[in-house]
Structures are given as structure tokens and as C-alpha cells.
């Protein structure tokens, strides 16, 4: 009550302050004269890309204009959705991944939604339990340990083959990974080790990594761009944590010079959901259906470097030669992730910073 009077009181002042603005592009008219809302507001992260022609297609087939509100990364996005519960900034959210999914669903920030037509291949990415009714899988990506094959060949050394190898003395000081607390692929790798070594073993594994000289950076970009030997930064570490699509960026003379270790991968799945309290619920549903349709799915690999959940979509040529999709990625149940996330992160911090 107090807040409302207070804000109203301040408004006059603000109007004065803002009068001199030159960026003022007021929101597009959001409703037609008949009162039907014609804009769909999509809340998403910085990595979201929708090509102009695909966006035009959406408007043509549904009659809705799409407005993209992007900020931050997956973690920031998930938390801002939770914080704005009940009074969302938009109608539909895309970019909640499986490490945050149950936190968002559990907070009650999403409305139930069953997409009209899920591609057949999408069912294996569905969330377990109730969450499946509010989040629809849209794409996936695999976070894997990458190895600079050219470097190992030049040194005439054997490449590491497994996560266990990374703790062996012959690979001392050769591995760099972004940290779990500060980066989303870093978190995925922590979960990969949890999946592989179990609740009581993963912390020991990290202690061994630490003893073997693992370098932990804050983000993916400096692990790849500064420390990795094949990342263009003249780094000194030929083993990096990245994505299974990364070898496609290291193609020389038609062949990739690096490869991803397929049994070290953790699969990140991205979901979309309707926000509870959305001003345009039909529009939100329509956009999720559109994201699951052929045109949008086909635009994803080239624009967002992820795999569409629809396996009938043709992938870029470079991916055909350089990218392997792991058959059995390492997995951790999303509800378990939400329950233990804080505890795991704290224990991880202790293991690597000690």
C-alpha cells in the first residue's frame, strides 16, 4: 500500500527527469483496437538468436509480433524468473536448462502447458514427473572434455582417453576447465563427475585433479581463448573443458585438429515454458509450438551452436565431419541437482580452492 502511494508520488518527478531522453522508443502498441494482445514477450538469455526470416515466419503463421527480452546467462535467467514469480516480465521463457529446471518449476513461476506436437525424438529429453507438464525440451548440447590431437601427435604422446586419465602424472598441468561456481559448462562438468564417481567419490576426484595441476578459470572464454593450445591464444594446456561441437571450430585442411572425449560428456537440455501470470498466454503457447516446429528447429545449430530436439533436422556440414554426439552422456536427475546444488558447489569450492 505504502509502496504504491510512494511510487505514484515519485512519478511526476520522474516524468520531468526523463523528458530529455533521446532513446525513448516506447513499447510498440501491444494491442489492437479489438483488445487482442498481439505481442508475445519472450524472456531469454544472451545467447538466444532468432534469424529475421524465422521471426517473420512466426508472425505470418500466428499473427503475433515477437519481442525478445534477453539478459544474462542461464543461471541469471532462471533466478530472475523465480524472483519475478507471479508478475513476470514477459509471457514465455526459453533457456531454462536441466540444472535449473526443478528450481524454477518448484517455485511455481510457470503455468502448465502441453505443446501441440512434440517431435518424436523429443520425448527422451522430457523432464521427469510434474515438471514435464510445464517445460518443453527445445534443444540440447553436450559439454565434454576436448583434446588437442595435433598437440599430442606433435609431442608423440598418447591422448587421454577417460576422466580417470586426467588425474595421471603424464597429464600433469595439461587440463583447464571453467569453474563450476561461475560458468554453466563448468557446472555441467562438475555434474559429469558427480554422475561418474557418485556422491561419495566426486570430491576425491577433484582433489586428485587439483593435485595434478588442473587450472580452473572463471569462464569458458578464457579457458578456451587463453589457456587452451588450440584456442588461438597460444596457451599451454592441450586439454580443455568445452562442447562436443568445439572441434568443428578447429578444422584445418578439411579435418578437425581436436576431438571431444565422448565418455566425459554431460548433456545440457534447454526448455521453454509459459510464465504464470502471462498477459498473453495463447501467444506464449503459440511460440513454444513454433520453437518445436521444423523452421525454428532447423535454425538452431547454425545460430546457437546447439542440437535441436528434432533429430530429423539436417545438421551443418562441419558438424558431420567433426562432431560426435555421445550415445550415453553422463546424467544426474534434475530434482537431485536442485536439492544438492548448493551443497555440491560449496564442497567443490572447498576441493579446488583449498
Amino acid at each position: 500500500m505504502f509502496r504504491r502511494t510512494f511510487t505514484t508520488a515519485c512519478c511526476g518527478t520522474l516524468a520531468l527527469a526523463i523528458a530529455g531522453c533521446s532513446t525513448t522508443g516506447d513499447d510498440k502498441p501491444a494491442a489492437t483496437s479489438s483488445g487482442k494482445v498481439t505481442t508475445v514477450k519472450l524472456v531469454t538469455h544472451e545467447s538466444f538468436v532468432i534469424p529475421k526470416d524465422v521471426q517473420a515466419e512466426f508472425t505470418k503463421t500466428t499473427g503475433y509480433q515477437l519481442q525478445v527480452l534477453a539478459s544474462g546467462d542461464a543461471g541469471k535467467l532462471a533466478n530472475s524468473v523465480v524472483l519475478a514469480k507471479g508478475n513476470p516480465t514477459g509471457d514465455v521463457v526459453f533457456g531454462i536448462d536441466n540444472t535449473f529446471a526443478s528450481r524454477v518449476v518448484g517455485s511455481g513461476a510457470l503455468a502448465a502447458n502441453e505443446p501441440k506436437a512434440l517431435p518424436k525424438s523429443a520425448s527422451k529429453y522430457a523432464l521427469p514427473g510434474e515438471a514435464a507438464h510445464s517445460l518443453a525440451p527445445i534443444d540440447f548440447g553436450d559439454v565434454c572434455v576436448n583434446v588437442d590431437d595435433a598437440w599430442f601427435a606433435a609431442k608423440k604422446k598418447a591422448k587421454p582417453q577417460s576422466l580417470d586419465d586426467l588425474t595421471k602424472p603424464e597429464y600433469k598441468d595439461l587440463f583447464v576447465t571453467p569453474g563450476a561456481a561461475t560458468s554453466s559448462p563448468g557446472m555441467a562438468f562438475l555434474l559429469a563427475t558427480v554422475a561418474k564417481y557418485g556422491d561419495d567419490g566426486w570430491q576425491d576426484y577433484w582433489k586428485k585433479l587439483k593435485a595434478n595441476g588442473v587450472k580452473v578459470t572463471s569462464g569458458w572464454s578464457d579457458a578456451w581463448g587463453v589457456d587452451y593450445t588450440a584456442g588461438g591464444g597460444k596457451g599451454t594446456r592441450p586439454i580443455v573443458l568445452s562442447y562436443n561441437t568445439s572441434p568443428a571450430d578447429t578444422i584445418k585442411d578439411g579435418k578437425p585438429t581436436t576431438s571431444a572425449m565422448t565418455d566425459s560428456c554431460f548433456r545440457q537440455v534447454e526448455y521453454a515454458g509459459v510464465l504464470k501470470g502471462a498477459k498473453n498466454e495463447p501467444g506464449a503457447k503459440a511460440f513454444i509450438d513454433f520453437m518445436l516446429g521444423k523452421k525454428f528447429q532447423a535454425s538452431m545449430p547454425k545460430n546457437m551452436y546447439v542440437f535441436p530436439v528434432d533429430d530429423q533436422v539436417k545438421l551443418p556440414d562441419a558438424w558431420q565431419t567433426a562432431v560426435k554426439v555421445p550415445d550415453k552422456p553422463l546424467q544426474v536427475d534434475p530434482t537431485k541437482i536442485t536439492k544438492n546444488r548448493d551443497d555440491w558447489l560449496r564442497r567443490w569450492q572447498d576441493a579446488v580452492s583449498g
Binding site: 522508443g25 527480452l69 580452473v216 569462464g219 591464444g233
Partner: protein, 547 residues
């Protein structure tokens, strides 16, 4: 009687506008976040405060923040004052260019600077032998790198407008240059030095990207801790406690600086000082400036070099790609458009910050006769400094949960970006303008008023002459801050037209062959344009002596 009332009424009204702005866009969001963290089930849980403060990790983080920021501030001031002397007082060629170069770090995205430093310091880098990668020394160097411009510009601007006659008189009476410096010049500069030091300390304590990138997993500051607690753990309680702690630090710092300067600003006659010829005794300062330049240039050169590295060769490929929309899918606007958006937003933010900052400076530099009045003004001063000290994460998420009801549902409005930037620039404007305003001799004002001039007229005739230079300096600062700000802004919804820092962050975080190089190229462009603008503003200064 009438005049007495008028004398307190005008400042009161002048204070209301910025206060309302700050209340809505800063105090409201921050208190909303703090309330989320500490106000549970209808009651304030103060156990949380004790609980968080006694965590060993909290203690470590707070301690690290305090000592690294203090040390960085000390070094920045020790380097910055001689450089200010060389670049503002001596007759030397190219000083404008040097000042421009020193400003570049100030607007570079912190993540990019982190990467530039890491490229220098990593095992394979040219400075790898130092073994500083992931150490506190690296963080310290980066903090100094970022903030040197603050000291140089604040102190230099003040130095320029010192009336040289006092120093000349002392010298002609046989005082050695050192004595003149100690007894005449430094006391006159003290308010500016203290002001700059305070801003630098707050910038250091609130620095975020740099500490994350360079600190590895070993070091975190209160700011990075709040970020981790909020975005990863969603531990709003602990984040709220730490934000309150930050507020306390700002207030403590202000009290401390007031002690030091004890309001004893030397009165400035609006002298424009003539630049001196270089003397032999200036050699140490020149050498130091040279060294500082090399220090600032090294990371910049690294950036430029990496932005020119295309595959295994060299070329302008990354720059060319930045000009073509869609050369990589992420790039949905050309670099020119993004730059233009940045500049437009920066103009708005600067206007807003200058307008509000001038009002605030005008109010807090009044000299009330009562102790209560003085306390009130100190409190006002502290309030307007808060945005420099409080975590951008808290403000950013605060926007989300506080500005969510009509008439203020601004969460997806493009207005919020310049507003958020103006919030950060506002305290800087105040820190540059307030000392200048205080230094105006009140007797001059009184004399003019006694002759029947209206307050506006007094301002125009007396204050304006002393204020032109600081005004330009503050404008340049506000502009640079808003061009580079990506703390609170990064929490706001990306508008349809992204600014250049947004483009840089989008590019740098994505796997893909060219993204990295393009991000660095865009950073070089951002820094270059900012430096050019700042130098141009300085040029203006030279010609405004006679409006």
C-alpha cells in the same frame, strides 16, 4: 527573515528531485532485495545477519576486499598524482593523447581486461615468468590499471585551476620547489586527492569481472560473493547481509574522508594556470609517467594484437566481420549501430547524471550554520554515494522485483538502461563538482548578492567561472562510465538495439571460431572511441575560458 527562508527553501527543493530519482531507482530496488533476504514470514530475521557475518568464508572475503582495495587505492594515488602533474601542469607535446590513453581502461569491459591480463600473465605469455596468473598481484595490477584515470583526471583538473600566484609568491620568497609543493600545492589539492581515493576504493571494492577472471577460484571480494550467492545459490539472505555491509562501508568512508578534508578547502580564485616548462627536477615524474603509460599500454597492445590475429595470420578480418550484420549469426546489428546505440544511451545517461549531480552538488555544498543542518547534508552526501558502493547484482535483481507495478513497470522499458547508468555516474559527478563548488569563495557570492543580484545571477557570475573545467571533466567522466557500464545494465532486458558492451559480452561467451577475435576487436573500438571523445571534451575546455 525572507532571505533566511529562501536560503533553505531553494536547496530543499533542489534536493528533492535527485532524492526522488534515487528513491525510486536505487533505494526502492535495493531495499526490496534486502527485504526479500531478511524479511521472512512477516518478520525480520536478524539472526541471519549474525549467521552470515560469522561464516569463516564471509570473514575471508571481507578481509580480502578491504586489504586489496586499500592497497590498490594507495598505489593508484601514488602513481596518479605525479602523472596528473605531468599531464596537466607541464608544457609537453601530446599530453592530450596521453590523457586519452589513460582513460581507455576505464571503459573496457572487465571480462575483456581480465582476458588481456591473463594473456600477458599466463604461463606462455610474455610476463609468464612472474608467476602471477591467478594470484592477488594480478588482481591488484588490474585494479590500478582500471582506476588510474580517476585519480589523474580528478587531481589534474583541480591542479589546472589552482591560482599559481601563491606558489609563485612562495617560490620568490626562497622556498624550494619541494617546500612549495608541501606547504602550498598539496594542501590545495587535498580535497581532490581524497575525493579521488574514495571513488577508487569503492570502484575496487565493487569490481567484479576482473576479480572473477583473474582471481581464479582462490580469491573473491564481497561483490563477487554477492554475485555467486544471488545467481547460483539464490541465497538472498546472505546477499542481503553483504549488501548492507557494503552500504556501511560507503558511509564509513564518507565520514573518514570528511575527517581528512575537514572542509578546509582552499579558496580558489578562478585562476587559469599557465603550463610550466619542464625543469630538471621534473625528471622523476616524467619517468614515472612513462612507466605508467607502458603499464597501461601493455594490456591494450595485447588486446589490439589479438584482435588482429586471424587464424594463423594477421589482418583486419575481425573488424570487417563486425561491420557486416550476420557475418556470424549472433551479430544482428553492425558494430556501427551498436556504437551509435551506446552513444545515444550515454548521452541520455550523461544528461541525467549531470542534471541530478549538479543539483546534489549544489545542495551538499551549502554551509549551514547549525550542527543539525551539517549532519543532514552529510547524510545526503552519503546517500548519493551509495550507488558506487552497492552491488550491481543487488540493484539489477532489485529492478526486477521492485519496479514491477504500474505506473512503474519499467522492467522491459528501454529507459531503464540510461537510468541505471546515470545512477553509477551520478556519484562521480558529485565527487568532481562538490569540491569545486566548495572552493568558491563565499565572500564573492555574498558581495555579489549584496549588490542585489538574484541567486541565479550570483551563480552565473561567481560559480560558473570556477566551474567550467570541472563541469567538462565531470561530463566526460559520466559519459565514459555510461559507455562502459555493464553491471546493473546486464540485468536489464536487452533492448532491441544492443549497446556495444552487450555485443561484446554476447560474442565473448560463445564458442565459435571468430567470436573471440571479434569481441576483442569490438572492445578496441569501444575504448578508442571513448578515448577520442574524452580528448575532444578536453579540447573544448581550452576554448571555453571566455563564455
Amino acid at each position: 527573515m525572507r532571505t533566511r527562508l529562501g536560503r533553505s527553501l531553494v536547496p530543499a527543493l533542489a534536493a528533492l528531485i535527485p532524492l526522488a530519482f534515487l528513491a525510486v531507482f536505487f533505494l526502492l530496488p535495493v531495499s526490496a532485495m534486502v527485504a526479500r533476504g531478511l524479511h521472512l514470514d512477516g518478520q525480520w530475521s536478524l539472526d541471519a545477519v549474525r549467521d552470515v557475518l560469522t561464516r569463516p568464508r564471509t570473514r575471508r572475503v571481507v578481509w580480502f576486499t578491504v586489504w586489496i582495495s586499500s592497497l590498490a587505492t594507495l598505489i593508484t594515488v601514488l602513481l596518479g598524482v605525479p602523472i596528473a602533474y605531468v599531464t596537466y601542469r607541464l608544457k609537453l607535446p601530446l599530453t592530450g593523447l596521453v590523457r586519452g590513453l589513460l582513460v581507455m581502461p576505464f571503459v573496457l569491459p572487465t571480462v575483456v581486461v581480465g582476458i588481456a591480463f591473463r594473456s600477458l600473465l599466463s604461463t606462455s605469455g610474455p610476463l609468464g615468468f612472474l608467476g602471477w596468473d591467478g594470484s592477488w598481484q594480478a588482481i591488484l595490477a588490474a585494479l590500478v590499471f582500471f582506476n588510474i584515470a580517476v585519480v589523474v583526471r580528478t587531481v589534474g583538473g583541480r591542479w589546472q585551476s589552482l591560482d599559481p600566484r601563491q606558489a609563485e609568491a612562495a617560490a620568490s620568497l626562497g622556498a624550494s620547489p619541494w617546500t612549495v609543493l608541501r606547504t602550498v600545492t598539496l594542501p590545495a589539492l587535498r580535497p581532490a586527492v581524497v575525493s579521488a581515493a574514495m571513488v577508487v576504493f569503492l570502484f575496487c571494492a565493487g569490481s567484479f569481472g576482473v576479480v572473477l577472471t583473474l582471481g581464479g577460484v582462490r580469491y573473491s571480494t564481497v561483490e563477487t560473493e554477492i554475485y555467486l550467492l544471488t545467481t547460483n545459490f539464490l541465497d538472498l539472505r546472505a546477499a542481503a547481509v553483504l549488501s548492507l555491509l557494503q552500504a556501511l562501508v560507503v558511509i564509513a568512508l564518507l565520514l573518514l574522508t570528511e575527517r581528512i578534508t575537514d572542509r578546509g578547502e582552499t579558496r580558489l580564485r578562478s585562476g587559469t594556470s599557465v603550463q610550466q616548462r619542464v625543469r630538471r627536477s621534473d625528471l622523476p615524474h616524467l619517468l614515472l609517467t612513462g612507466a605508467a603509460l607502458i603499464f597501461v599500454l601493455a594490456p591494450l597492445v595485447t588486446l589490439v594484437a589479438r584482435s588482429l590475429q586471424v587464424g594463423d595470420g594477421w589482418g583486419l578480418g575481425h573488424y570487417r566481420k563486425l561491420t557486416q550484420v550476420g557475418s556470424v549469426p549472433l551479430l544482428q546489428v553492425s558494430v556501427f549501430d551498436a556504437l551509435l546505440t551506446s552513444l545515444r544511451v550515454a548521452v541520455d545517461a550523461t544528461l541525467l547524471a549531470m542534471l541530478l549531480g549538479l543539483l546534489v552538488s549544489f545542495v551538499i555544498t551549502r554551509r549551514p550554520t547549525s550542527a543539525g543542518g551539517r549532519r543532514l547534508l552529510s547524510a545526503l552526501d552519503a546517500t548519493f554515494m551509495l550507488p558506487l558502493g552497492i552491488s550491481a547484482v543487488t540493484v539489477g535483481f532489485g529492478f526486477l522485483i521492485a519496479l514491477d507495478e504500474p505506473p512503474l513497470d519499467l522492467r522491459s522499458s528501454p529507459l531503464l538502461v540510461p537510468i541505471a547508468q546515470a545512477l553509477v555516474a551520478l556519484p562521480l559527478v558529485v565527487r568532481v563538482m562538490a569540491p569545486a563548488l566548495r572552493s568558491v569563495d563565499p565572500r564573492e557570492r555574498e558581495a555579489t548578492a549584496a549588490l542585489g543580484a538574484s541567486p541565479m545571477r550570483v551563480f552565473w557570475d561567481v560559480d560558473r567561472r570556477v566551474l567550467t573545467k570541472p563541469l567538462l571533466a565531470a561530463t566526460g567522466f559520466a559519459f565514459a562510465v555510461s559507455l562502459g557500464e555493464f553491471g546493473a545494465t546486464s540485468f536489464l532486458a536487452r533492448p532491441e538495439n544492443p549497446t556495444l558492451p552487450v555485443v561484446i559480452y554476447q560474442l565473448i561467451g560463445r564458442p565459435g571460431a571468430d567470436h573471440f577475435g571479434m569481441a576483442l576487436a569490438a572492445s578496441v573500438i569501444l575504448a578508442g572511441v571513448t578515448a577520442t571523445i574524452m580528448v575532444a571534451v578536453e579540447r573544448l575546455r581550452g576554448r571555453t575560458g571566455s563564455w
